[in-house]
Symmetry: C2
Subunit: 284 residues, 2 copies
């Protein structure tokens, strides 16, 4: 089941056939991966963290100097998707904006695509995942001084992220944790890394060259309210295996515990994961 | 003027309207920049370095574990484009293959798009260009041990390349030369870097994390035949300004001299550029 809405300037956008073609071959989203996106979890018709997703979409677009529809147009398109979505329970909406056709008369290509949460993502929430650390190549010190590297922007240029996932699969792992050249922890190809030590939640900061996580932020808010300590600060690779619990967090995955890292079993964090997911759910 | 041929399995592909839509919104080329491409120069109906382009397309696809049409299908699609192209002189054909729709029944999206050589590219061949060096972030030592970074693959994930070009434009420069973390020279966002010192042509090697240049290879072949020395070896950033001539080379641009680098005028290499272009043209 998929529901597609094209943001074509009409109020709420226009419902369109997701199996039909809506993108030209010269669209810079196709030829250059030149665009931005967000994936929003929806539970029983209610989008989660939509404001945070739209904030991040706007930040990513600014880093790409990309004109995108305004947030009211995105919010209206999400409503149109949800009004046409026939199922209860969880689903997700992907928001995409490209720079549009290279030979067109200007204007981005923007759409909202509703889709079902993949069975694997649901399963991993309870079963946990295995992960490998993979080098990402850059030193975090470059983030500030090289804005053209788009570190921290959620762009459509995800070929490396997809290749990292394939590499993980080839060595029997479910997930990747990228490591920077200075041996600090970055993020997953499509997730935020969170670790827990002595009832303190930690995640790497944007200055490390990672995306601000919308689900991580919701989790940290809930945890702070419940009396936990939270820290957004650089994390050394060696700290990953020393933690009480290590997690990959994303809108679609929610919070999945990592059972084994680089082939080595980690402490059992099943109860901790249940506790964190309960904290996160308490936000809604 | 554009001529589009979709590689849809029919012999020679199928001519299609380039102003119509042919790509689904869930195509992994759109949502993940997950695909490969090549741009081939054609002069008076004859594609240049087509074998080298198809070799590189196959190498890129292998690095992405991407099933692509075989080379005879690409060659036939190029012939279909050229048969439908009504103009003499120069044009170019872009070959693109994506991983196809995420929710489709499998199979890549592949097409060949004929287009006119941009006026700016033609102008820069004679007028020369200005360039800035920009950090690319990685150390070449990572190329071999981190294949998931896809260094040396010509993928559709070019958001950083496009952002680097925009950055160059914002500081009044035409081109970018990427520099690695170890201060060695890489390539341009869409070009190969060639420098000439004492009648020796040099360009950085693939082990530096750059694409093998098809036009650079043709130039080096011609130069070797004419008695020049050529070297494919690491180049230090400091060597750029000490060279007799510094050039950006690509299929569409051919060979353009860099007049100024990081705001500093370089030695006048007008005659050298004319000589190199004559060498390159002697290949055809």
């Amino acid at each position: 089941m998929r529901v597609l809405v094209m943001l074509d300037g009409t109020p709420g956008g226009t419902l369109a056939d997701p199996d039909a073609t809506h993108v030209r071959v010269d669209d810079l989203g196709v030829t250059r991966g030149d665009g931005v996106f967000e994936s929003v979890l929806v539970v029983d018709g209610a989008p989660r963290e939509l404001d945070a997703h739209l904030d991040r979409l706007a930040r990513s677009a600014a880093m790409l100097e990309l004109p995108v529809p305004d947030r009211s147009a995105w919010a209206a398109a999400v409503r149109t998707v949800l009004a046409a979505w026939p199922l209860a329970g969880e689903m997700a909406v992907k928001l995409v904006c490209t720079r549009g056709p290279e030979y067109g008369d200007g204007g981005p290509t923007a759409f909202a695509l509703g889709f079902e949460v993949p069975a694997k993502s649901r399963r991993n929430r309870t079963a946990g995942v295995t992960a490998v650390t993979l080098e990402r190549g850059f030193d975090p010190a470059i983030v500030e001084r090289a804005p053209w590297l788009l570190l921290g922007a959620k762009t459509l240029s995800y070929a490396v992220n997809m290749a990292a996932n394939r590499y993980a699969e080839s060595v029997g792992a479910d997930e990747v944790i990228f490591i920077a050249a200075d041996n600090t922890v970055l993020e997953g190809p499509t997730s935020t890394v969170v670790l827990v030590t002595d009832r303190t939640l930690r995640t790497p900061p944007p200055t490390s060259g990672v995306l601000l996580g919308t689900t991580q932020a919701a989790l940290f808010r809930a945890a702070e309210r419940a009396g936990w300590t939270t820290k957004v600060e650089p994390v050394d690779r060696a700290e990953l295996t020393a933690a009480d619990g290590l997690f990959v967090v994303s809108s679609i995955r929610k919070i999945s515990r990592i059972r084994a890292l680089d082939g080595v079993a980690l402490p059992d964090a099943t109860d901790l994961c249940t506790e964190l997911n309960a904290l996160y759910e308490s936000e809604y």
